[in-house]
């Protein structure tokens, strides 16, 4: 056991807020050791220096999801982050703490999560087993590998960090957001659930509204990979009876990518665009690319990959 302790004087710069006074920054000096979590630092500030500071925290072990905030600009759980680690990472003993982005501020580090909860409820976050099972007449079994797959996505602690970081949530009111998708997929993929059709209706259209930016993947403190849940949900599009235009476009996009790979072994963005969005849509996008100076990427002449037959084999095997 090599428990190396060390101490450090740090300054926590906290962005505070009250409806009466608006925003202001306040600094607190304190001594921390190797093991001091941000929740403990905040608790000490509140009980030793400034009782008016408001924040949420409960479990201090990264399972309750209360303490999401931004530390040196990173969306994090305060309890899962050690003060010294952040000081070292940024090479400075002055550390900023701010409320999570996107949500409405309530007081200091506390934000309003009501809308987040509404999104979670939208995906019907509960199992709907067969009536026989519910009444206890038959036992349902679950393969260990299914349990493992589902458990990964079931571990969402409703902290909201991913939503605070997700660009699509901000742009698109129809998008359910990463956490709700993780939750939704956990039940969509559960072989014991009976409302798959309804779940597909709720989830698939929204799944195509994600931009695959991977922010949710990066910030999730429980390594849920909401974007993976979204990808897996998109794969259900094939099974859906009714498809919204977004889902249809999405499917076309995937098909285009597939064909591009099949022909050349590469992703030819220009071609993919054309067949996904049709000529008109592509021209609009092209103008945008032109304006933002990105057009050279779209027009790069792709050379065919050498072992194309191998790739074709893999692709056709995958898609049976």
């Amino acid at each position: 056991m090599s428990l190396q302790n060390e101490e450090m004087d740090v300054v926590l710069k906290i962005k505070r807020y009250s409806p009466e006074k608006g925003y202001w920054w306040q600094e607190y000096k304190l001594k921390v050791d190797r093991f001091t979590q941000f929740t403990e630092a905040l608790r000490r500030i509140k009980s030793e220096q400034d009782p008016t500071l408001a924040y949420r925290a409960s479990c201090h072990m990264a399972v309750c999801g209360s303490c999401g905030m931004k530390i040196n600009g990173e969306p994090r759980l305060a309890c899962k982050t050690l003060v010294i680690d952040m000081a070292k990472k940024y090479g400075s003993n002055v550390i900023t703490i701010e409320p999570m982005d996107y949500f409405k501020p309530v007081k200091d580090l506390i934000v309003d999560l009501d809308e987040f909860y509404q999104r979670m409820y939208k995906v019907k976050p509960r199992l709907y087993p067969h009536k026989e099972v519910l009444e206890g007449n038959v036992e349902q079994r679950l393969k260990p590998e299914d349990q493992r797959e589902l458990w990964k996505f079931a571990q969402c602690i409703w902290c909201g960090l991913c939503v605070s970081a997700c660009p699509s949530v901000k742009m698109d009111p129809e998008f359910l957001g990463p956490a709700a998708h993780a939750k939704g997929y956990r039940f969509l993929a559960d072989p014991r659930d009976t409302i798959t059709e309804e779940r597909m209706k709720i989830l698939i259209d929204s799944a195509w509204r994600c931009t695959y930016c991977y922010m949710c993947y990066n910030v999730c403190p429980r390594d849920i990979e909401p974007v993976t849940a979204i990808k897996k949900t998109r794969a259900y599009t094939r099974l859906a009876k009714e498809k919204t235009s977004i889902a249809q476009t999405g499917e076309k996009h995937i098909e285009a990518i597939f064909n591009s790979l099949l022909e050349t072994g590469k992703l030819e963005e220009a071609k993919v665009y054309l067949s996904t969005y049709g000529l008109l849509g592509s021209i609009k996008d092209f103008i945008y690319l032109f304006q933002s100076g990105k057009v050279k990427y779209a027009l790069v002449k792709e050379k065919s990959v050498e072992n194309i037959s191998e790739i074709r084999k893999i692709l056709s095997g995958d898609n049976k």
Binding site: M1, S2, L3, Q4, S18, P19, E20, D33, R34, F35, Q37, T39, R43, K46, S47, E48, D50, P51, T52, A54, Y55, R56, S58, C59, H60, M61, A62, V63, C64, G65, S66, K80, L82, V106, K107, I110, L113, K124, P125, R126, L127, P129, V133, L134, G136, E139, Q140, R141, L142, K143, P144, Q147, L150, W151, A154, Q155, I157, W158, F187, R192
Partner: protein, 566 residues
């Protein structure tokens, strides 16, 4: 004063409160659930290792519920009410399978059935688990299920402050909307207190920050007794120095405790059960090793799981691995985890029978850690508490439904009483200057840890009592700096402190009163268990600044007290 009316108000949205709510709402009554935090932030989420259950056809073939009851009774050093232990054991399989049907992702055996592991004090392995985040998995399931009923009103981020009663029955509660400090009188025919534990009373605790014992104090102030308040459980393996729990599951899976010399010291204290002896025994063993100079500098010992192998550790003990890594910088696949005891659970609680009913106040019920049905007696076995929250949460819900069926409307008006209670909240912090809650709180936590902890004696307990009395005096000068009405957490911290001081007085007094050692209550000056004089429940009432103690017999069914050796 704003008013709302419900058939039932439930304080607490942990497993016990939600289970009771589910039962009552399913029977068609209207229910309000009040919680300081969003339900899934309740402390139940932090439970790690698992939930005990004897499941017919899916347990060791030699096991049976009677053995489970027996283990519980022996583990609790015979202070357990045996009818309660039997009910717990006999309903365990059914309740776990109910949660399975509701969708809890229990770990599985290769054939798809629910898997099982060993926990301390079990004759046969009975603990069912979801990795080592069992509490979280169960809590999310029950919350998702209960909120899906659509008929339970959740008031989360509401602070329950006082019970409102008349001569002999409960009439509701006073609670504040934490977002804007508006007090509301929740009128109710029945009230269930499921407000969880009280770890914040102690300097070192594995509990959530929100566990401040509010429910116990509310009950005490409403002239309701606590049962066995001197029994506080300390968990032997809290991570040093952050006090994050390293689940007993680690030892259940084969981890071993070692002192600074590398010795497996439990051989000296529990030659048969070794590291899987009950918690009180292991806690004392660790502190004895430390006291006698065989601990690591700083006062801890090592928990060795290196021999279990990386894959196994990362799958079955993910949280222990992760906690050691993130909070102590230790790689548990290669090094021992530094651990020491910390406050963990409260065996004492609001006095109730096996239906959750309180005898002092008609219409008052309690469940979960807030209650003392007395299934844990003097020392709780690991993984029995999650089980208790669900089994007795449901039993209580059912008893409430029965109670409501024969309910008659009272004629007296009670609004004046309710007004007074709102004033009492402001009274706690009515000074214009003086001390803040933090100054008193930190002294209280040290006092409780130093003198009302793992080892106790008369002098220490007396010191604690006089310090607590002083702190209660200081509290009169407490004031709140934050004048805003929006999410004023300082105000609620001050109210919590008042609750903690009420409870502390009762714990320390009862501990001084019990002149024997039993389970987690260990008196250096009375090191033996004394069945002759002390095989009885403490029943404690708070009367202003003093505590009145009476006794109740322990309910015995099949098992006679025997020496507790492991």
């Amino acid at each position: 004063m704003e008013k709302v009316s419900y058939d039932v108000v439930i304080v607490g949205a942990g497993l016990a409160g939600l289970m009771a709510a589910h039962e009552v709402a399913s029977a068609g009554y209207n229910v309000a659930v009040i919680s300081k935090v969003f339900p899934t932030r309740s402390h139940s989420a932090a439970a790690e290792g698992g939930i005990a259950a004897y499941i017919q056809g899916n347990s060791d073939p030699n096991d049976n519920p009677d053995y489970m009851a027996y283990d519980t009774i022996k583990g609790g050093d015979y202070l357990v009410d045996q009818d309660a232990a039997e009910l717990l054991a006999y309903k365990s399989g059914e309740i776990v399978m109910l949660l399975e049907r509701w969708g809890t992702l229990f770990n599985r055996q290769p054939d798809g059935r629910v898997a099982v592991r060993y926990f301390g004090g079990q004759t046969y392995p009975r603990t069912r688990f979801v990795g080592d985040k069992t509490g979280m998995a169960l809590l999310h399931t029950v919350y998702e299920r209960t909120s899906g009923l659509g008929s339970v009103d959740f008031y989360f981020e509401w602070f329950a402050w006082e019970l409102v009663r008349d001569e002999n029955r409960i009439r509701g509660i006073i609670a504040f909307d934490m977002r804007n400090m508006v007090p509301v009188f929740f009128k109710a025919k029945a009230v269930v207190i499921a407000s969880g534990g009280m770890g914040m009373l102690y300097r070192h605790s594995t509990n959530s920050y929100i566990n401040t014992g509010d429910g116990y104090a509310m009950a005490l102030r409403a002239r309701v007794a606590l049962k066995d308040p001197e029994f506080v459980q300390f968990h032997p393996t809290a991570l040093y120095p952050s006090d994050i729990l390293i689940s007993e599951a680690a030892r259940g899976e084969g981890a071993v405790l070692r002192n600074v010399k590398g010795e497996r010291f439990m051989a000296r204290y529990a030659p048969k059960k070794l590291d899987l002896a009950p918690r009180d025994i292991v806690s004392r063993a660790i502190l004895t090793e430390v006291k006698e100079g065989r601990g690591f500098p700083g006062g801890y010992v090592g928990l060795d799981l290196t021999h279990l192998g990386e894959d196994y550790i990362k799958e079955r003990l993910a949280l222990a691995y992760e906690a050691a890594k993130s909070f102590a910088g230790i790689d548990a696949t290669k090094e021992m985890i530094p651990v020491r005891p910390a406050q963990h659970y409260y065996m004492g609680g609001i006095d109730v029978d096996i239906t959750g009913r309180n005898p002092d106040l008609v219409g008052l019920f309690a469940a979960g850690e807030a209650a003392c049905v007395s299934v844990h007696g003097a020392n709780r076995l690991g993984s029995n508490s999650l089980l208790e929250t669900l089994v007795f949460g449901r039993e209580t819900g059912r008893a409430v439904v029965e109670f409501l069926k024969s309910y008659t409307e009272p004629s007296s008006d009670i609004d004046k009483e309710a007004e007074k209670m709102i004033d009492s909240a402001y009274e706690v912090v009515k000074s214009e200057s003086g001390v803040h809650f933090g100054e008193i709180l930190e002294r209280l936590r040290d006092t409780m840890w130093d003198y009302v902890g793992v080892f106790r004696d008369e002098n220490g307990l007396k010191t604690a009592l006089s310090e607590i009395m002083k702190l209660r005096e200081d509290m009169k000068k407490m004031y709140v700096l934050d004048k805003s009405k929006v999410y004023n957490t300082e105000f609620y911290n001050a109210l919590e402190l008042k609750n903690m001081l009420d409870l502390a007085l009762v714990i320390a007094t009862s501990a001084l009163n019990r002149k024997e050692s039993r389970g987690a209550h260990y008196r250096l000056d009375y090191p033996e268990r004394d069945d002759q004089n002390w095989l009885k429940h403490t029943i404690a009432y708070l009367r202003g600044n003093s505590v009145e103690i009476t006794y109740k017999p322990v309910k015995m069914t099949k098992w006679k007290p025997e020496a507790r050796v492991y």
